[in-house]
C-alpha cells in the first residue's frame, strides 16, 4: 500500500512533464500526420484522404532534397565535430584562464549566429565582390558561395563553436593526474586515449555531433539566402510549398515533408542513444 502510494506520487510528479511532452511534441506530430494524409480537391477545395503526399515526398526532387540535406548535414557535422573537438582540446590544455573564458563567451555567441546575417557576412566577404574569392579561386577554381561546397564552408562557422561548447566541459573534466597515473603504470599515449580519455569523452563528443547534425539539418535561412534553391534542401522545400509565392495549395505536401524530417531525427536518436548508453557505462561504474 505504502509502496504503491509512493509510486503513484512519483507518477504524479512526472505527470506535468508528460503532459507538456504530449502537448509540445505529440500534438504537432499528430497534426503533421493528420494533415499529411489529406489533400484538397483542386476544384471543390474539400479535403480527402490520400497517400499521395507521402509518396510524392519520397520521390523525385523531394527525395533529392532529403538526400542532399542528409549529405550536407553529415559532412558538415563530421567536419565540425573533428575541428571543434581539437579546438576544444587545445583550449582545455591551455593555462590561460582568460583565453578559456573568452573562447566560451565567443562560442556561445557564434553558435547562435546563423541565418541571413551570417549569409550576408559571407556574401560581403567571399562573394563576387571580394578579394578573398580571387585568392580562394586560385587554389579552388570552381568555388562559388551559392553551391553545395559554399554551404560546406559556411555551416561550420556556427557548428564548430557549438561543438566547442558541448565538449569543453568534458575535456576540462579529464584530470592531468589520470594521464600521469596511466604513464606511471606503463601505459602509452594511445592506451590512455583508447581506455581512459576516449571512453570518457565519447558521450559528449557524440552529443556534440548529434547537435551539429541537427543544427545543419534544420538550418534554413542561411541556405536560402545563399543558394536560391540551387541546392535542394528539405527545409527550403518545406518553405516553398508551405508559404511560397509560386506554388499554391500544397500545404499538405509540406506537412508530409516535415514529418519526414522528424523521422530522420528519430532515426538519428535511435542510433545515438544506445551508443551513448554504452559509453556512459564507463562513467558510472
Amino acid at each position: 500500500m505504502a509502496r504503491s502510494g509512493k509510486k503513484l506520487g512519483a507518477w504524479g510528479a512526472v505527470l506535468p512533464l508528460l503532459g507538456y511532452c504530449a502537448v509540445a511534441l505529440g500534438l504537432p506530430v499528430w497534426a503533421l500526420i493528420w494533415e499529411g494524409i489529406q489533400s484538397p480537391d483542386p476544384i471543390t477545395g474539400v479535403n480527402h484522404f490520400t497517400a499521395s503526399n507521402f509518396t510524392t515526398s519520397w520521390h523525385g526532387i523531394y527525395l533529392t532534397g532529403m538526400l542532399s540535406s542528409l549529405r550536407l548535414s553529415l559532412l558538415t557535422a563530421v567536419i565540425s565535430a573533428v575541428v571543434g573537438l581539437f579546438a576544444a582540446y587545445a583550449i582545455a590544455q591551455s593555462r590561460g584562464r582568460y583565453l578559456k573564458q573568452a573562447v566560451l563567451t565567443a562560442s556561445g555567441v557564434l553558435a547562435n549566429f546563423g541565418g541571413i546575417p551570417l549569409a550576408f557576412c559571407f556574401i560581403a566577404t567571399i562573394g563576387t565582390g571580394g578579394v578573398f574569392l580571387s585568392w580562394l579561386n586560385a587554389v579552388w577554381p570552381s568555388f562559388q558561395l551559392g553551391t553545395f561546397a559554399g554551404l560546406l564552408v559556411v555551416y561550420p562557422y556556427f557548428m564548430v563553436p557549438l561543438m566547442v561548447l558541448t565538449t569543453l566541459p568534458a575535456l576540462d573534466g579529464l584530470r592531468r593526474q589520470w594521464r600521469e597515473a596511466a604513464a606511471n603504470l606503463g601505459g602509452s599515449a594511445w592506451q590512455y586515449w583508447r581506455y581512459i580519455g576516449g571512453p570518457l569523452l565519447l558521450p559528449s563528443a557524440l552529443g556534440g555531433f548529434v547537435l551539429c547534425f541537427g543544427s545543419a539539418f534544420a538550418a534554413y535561412a542561411t541556405a536560402r539566402a545563399l543558394s536560391s534553391g540551387t541546392v535542394p534542401l528539405v527545409t527550403t522545400q518545406i518553405a516553398s510549398v508551405l508559404s511560397g509565392n509560386v506554388i499554391a495549395n500544397q500545404a499538405n505536401l509540406g506537412m508530409a515533408l516535415a514529418l519526414n524530417t522528424i523521422i530522420v531525427c528519430g532515426l538519428m536518436m535511435a542510433v545515438y542513444l544506445p551508443l551513448r548508453r554504452r559509453s556512459a557505462k564507463w562513467l558510472e561504474s
Binding site: L27, P28, A31, L32, W34, E35, P42, G45, G60, I61, T64, G65, F120, I123, A124, G127, T128, G129, L133, Q144, L145, G146, T147, F148, R224, A225, L226, S227, S228, G229, T230, V231, P232, T236, Q237, A239, S240, L242, S243, G244, N245, V246, I247, A248, N249, A251, M255
Partner: protein, 386 residues
Amino acid sequence: MHRIAKLACAAAAVTLAASACSSSKSSGSDASGGSGSVNWNTVASASAAGGMNALVAEAKKEGTLNVITLPRTWANYGKLMDDFTAKYGIKINDANPNGSSGDEITAVTSDKGLSTAPDVLDVGNSHAVPNTKLFAPYEVSSWSSIPADLKDANGTWYGDYGGYISIACDASKVAPAPCPTTFADLINPANVASYKGKVAISGDPTSANAAFSAVWAASLAQGGSLSNIQPGIDFFKKLKQNGEYNATTDTESTIESGATPITIDWEFNNSQFAADLKAKGIDLTVSIPSDGLYSAYYDQAINKYAPHPAAARLWEEYLYSATGQNDFMGGFARPAEFEAMQTAGTLDATDEKNLPSVTGTANLPTTDQQNTAQAALTSAWAAALG
C-alpha cells in the same frame, strides 16, 4: 493543422478577450442593426449598400483595417496606408509585412472568426485563382476601368498593380562590357568575362514569384513560350556554366555592396533600388528586355470572413481611385487601370515618366499555363542549376 492552428489561435484570442470580443461584437451588431438590413460581408458594390457615403460611414464606425504582408517599401504601400489612415481615420494593422502569398491564404483559413484575421489580401495570381471560395465578390466603382483579363468575372479578385521583368545594372561594376538590356546580351560571349558571378535573381524561383517570373521571361527570350518554361531553365543553366549566375538573393544591400551588380527582378523593385541607391552614389540603370517581355499583376481580394467588411471595401475603393492607382505608380509599379486613366487623363505625368520604357506588348499566362510552368520549374530547377 488548420484545426490545431485554430485551437492555438483561439487560446491566443482568449488572452486578448476583452478588446477582441468587444470590437468584433460591436461591429457585428452594427452590421445587422445599425443601417437596417445591410450585411456588409456580402455587399458586392458600394451602390448596392447605399452609396459611398454609407460605406465610408460604416467603415469609420469599424475604425480598423487588417492588412497582411504589405512591406512599406513595396509598390509604395507605406504611403498608401498612411494616406488612407489620414483620410478616413481608420487604423491599419499590417501583419507579417515580409510574408508571402501562401502566408496570406493560410491566415485567411486559420484566423477565421478572429478579429485579427486579414480583411483584404494582395496575392499573386497563382494564389488568387485557386482560392476564390475564400473571397467575397466586390466590384469597385471603377470596375469597368480594370482590363478584363486582369479580373475575375465574378469579382472575387482583381489586379491592382503589376510590372515587367527588368534588368538592373550597375555600369561601374561590369566594365568594360556595357550594361545588358536584353537576355541575349547576358549570354553574348563578348560580355561573359565581364559578367562573371554578377547576375542574380530575387531568390528561389520555386518560392519567389519575381524569381519565377525572371525564368519565364528568359524562356520567352530563348524561344520558349507561355506554355514552355524549359528554355528559361536552360538559359540559367547556361549562365551557371558560364560562371555568370550568382545564386545570392538580390536585395538593396547586395547591390550596394557590389555582390550582385546585375539583377533580374520586377521593374518596381529594381526602380525602387535605383531610386534609393542614387542617394548613395550608385548609378543603377533599369531596362525592360525587349526579347523577354513578361509582365504579371498582383491581385486584390476581400476575405469572405473579414472582421471589418466595410473598411475592407473602402480600402479597395481607395486603391482603385485615381489617387490610389497613381500612388502605386509612385512606387514604380504599373496600375491596373493604366490605360483607362491614360484615356481619361488622370495619370500622374511625373510618375508615368519615371517608369522604364517598354517596346512591344506582353501576354499574360493562363491558369493552366501557370500550373504547367510551376510543375516543370519545381522539378527541374535544382537539377539544372545544382
